[in-house]
C-alpha cells in the first residue's frame, strides 16, 4: 500500500481497497485493533457505570420530600453524591483506566509528515 506522494485526500484509486483494508484488519491481523476494541468496551462500561451512579443517587436520595432532605456541605445529599462526588469518581476512574489499561500504539506507518 504505497501511498507516498499521492494527494492527501483519500484517493482510494484501486477498487475496493478501503473495504479490503477493513476486512483484513478486522480479521485480527493488526494487533492495534484488538487494543482499540478493548478500549472502546472500557468506554462503554465507564459510561454505564457513570449513568448508574448518577441515576441511583439522584433519584434514590432525591425522591424524598424536600423537607426531609439531608445536606452535605450545604448541598442536598442527592445532588452532592450524584453530581459532585459522581464527577470526582469518574475523573478518578478515567485516570486509573487510562494510566493502567490503555496501551500506547503508533498511528503512522506509511505517512510521516
Amino acid at each position: 500500500m504505497e501511498q507516498v506522494g499521492q494527494m492527501p485526500c483519500p484517493l482510494v484509486k484501486e477498487e475496493g481497497e478501503g473495504v479490503k483494508w477493513v476486512r483484513k484488519e478486522l480479521r485480527g491481523m493488526d494487533g492495534r485493533f484488538k487494543i482499540a476494541n478493548r478500549e472502546a468496551l472500557i468506554g462503554v462500561a465507564l459510561a454505564l457505570f457513570n449513568f448508574g451512579w448518577w441515576f441511583f443517587f439522584a433519584y434514590g436520595l432525591g425522591d424524598a420530600s424536600p423537607e426531609d432532605y439531608s445536606y452535605v456541605f450545604g448541598f442536598p445529599a442527592w445532588f452532592f453524591y450524584s453530581c459532585i462526588v459522581g464527577f470526582l469518581v469518574m475523573v478518578a476512574l478515567v485516570i486509573i483506566v487510562v494510566r493502567w489499561w490503555f496501551v500506547e500504539v503508533p498511528f503512522d506507518e506509511e505517512e510521516s509528515s
Binding site: V19, F33, A40, G86, F87, V98, V105
Partner: protein, 483 residues
Amino acid sequence: MNAVVVSLFIFLIIIFIIGFWSSRSLNQVPEDSFLQEYFLGGRKLGGFILAMTMIATYGSASSFIGGPGVAYTEGLGWVLLSMSQVVTGYFVLMILGKKFAIMARKYKAVTLIDFLKGRYESKAVVLLAAFSIIIFLFSAMAAQWVGGARLIESLTGLNYTTALFIFAVSVLVYVIVGGFRAVALTDTVQGVIMLVGTLLLLIATIIAGGGVQTIMSDLVAENPNLVTPYGAEGNLTPAYVSSFWILVGVAVVGLPQVTVRAMSYRSSKAMHRALIIGTIVVGFIMLNMHLIGVFARPILPGIEVGDKVMPMIAQEVLPPWLAGFVLAAPMAAIMSTVDSLLLLVSSAVVKDVYLNYVNPSATNATVKKWSFTVTAVLGIFVFLMALNPPDLLIWLNLFAFGGLEATFIWPVVLGLYWKKGNKYGALASMVVGIASYIIIDQFFPSLLGVHNVVFPIILSLIAYILGSMMTQVSHNPLTDQPH
C-alpha cells in the same frame, strides 16, 4: 461597562495574534499537504489542545448563555441534567479512539466524510453526508452568529448590525488565515478563559449569596422544588432527564465537528492526556456554569429572560474589569463553536463535493484558492442570514444537533467496529435517522416522555443492521464494485 468593552477588545486582539501566528505554519508546509494542514492542523495536536478544542467546540452558546438561564428557572434538576455531559469527556475519544485515528490515517481522511468514503466507497453515502452537514451545520452556525452578535450588543450597547459585523470580521479573519490549527489554538485560549472565568464567577456568586447553605435555604423558602431533581414545576421526569444522556452525552460521538477532532491528534499519548483533561474540564465547566445559574436566583430574583442571567450576575457580583474577562467566556464559547463549524462546512464543500466529484484533478493552488474563497463566501452568506434570521433557520438549528447525531452515529461507530456493516446499511441508517427524527419532531414530540432524538437513534441502528444483513449475500464487500 467600559471595562467590559476593554476586556473583550483585548480578548479579540489576542485571538487575532494567534490566528496570524498559526498562519505561518500554513505557509511552511509542503504544497501537497495543504489540505491536511488547513482542515486538520497536520494531525499534530497534543493532548491539552485536543481536550480544549473538543470542549470549546462542543460547549456552545447554549451551555454558556442558555444553560445557566434554564438552571436559574428550573433549579438543581437542570444541573443534574447538565452533568450528563461529563460522559462526553471520555466517551467520544474512547469509542472512536485509536481505531478511528488509524483508519483515518489509512484513508488519508481529513474530514468525517473522507472516512465514510474510504469505509463505504459509495457516492450516495458521501453526497448524503455532505448534504446533511452543509444544511444542518450551516443553520447551527448562523444561529450561533446571532447569539454572538446579541451578546456584543448587550455588552457594548452597539446596535445589532454593527455588533454582528464586528463578530463576523473577527471570526472570518482568523479562520481564513489560520485554518484548523488557528482554530484549535484559539479554542485552547478560549477553553482556559471559560475554565478560569466560570470558577471566579462561581466563587463570587457564592460569596454574594452568603454561602451555599444560605442560598439553598433561600431557594427552599421560595420553592422547595428548586432543590429537587424534578425541576421547579416538578415536570422533569427521570425518563426525560436521562434521555439527555443520549442527546448531549453518548450520541455526541456522531457529531461531525467532534469526530473531526478525533482524527487530528498527534499520538496515542496525546489522546490519553486528552481523555483525562477533557473529563476534568468538561465536568468542571458544566457543574460551575449551571450552579451559577441556580445560585443567581436568590441574589437577583425575577429575571424574566434566561439569556440575561449570566451577563447580569457577572456584572452584579464582580468588579467591572473582571466581569469583562468572565463575560469573554461565553463570547469565547460562541466564537470557538462558530469557527469550527465554518471550517467544517467549507471542508464539506471544497473537499467532499468539489474535489471528489466536480474537479478531482484540481491542482494544489486551485484547492487553496477554493478553500479560502469558499470559507469567505460562506462567512458572508451566514452574515446576511444572521442579519435577519428566517424562521426556518431557527427551526433547523434546534433540529441540527439531534439530526446530525441520528444521521452519523451508526455509520461511524458500526463502520469502525462491525465488519459486516456496508454501504446499504449506512445509507438506510442515515435516511431512517433523518426521516424518523423529522416525523417524531413534527408529529409525536416527546414520545413516551423521552427526548425526540432517542427513537431515531434506535431506529437508525435497526436500519443499519437490517440494511447490512439483507445485502450480505448478493453484495459481498470484497466483490462489490464501488461506484
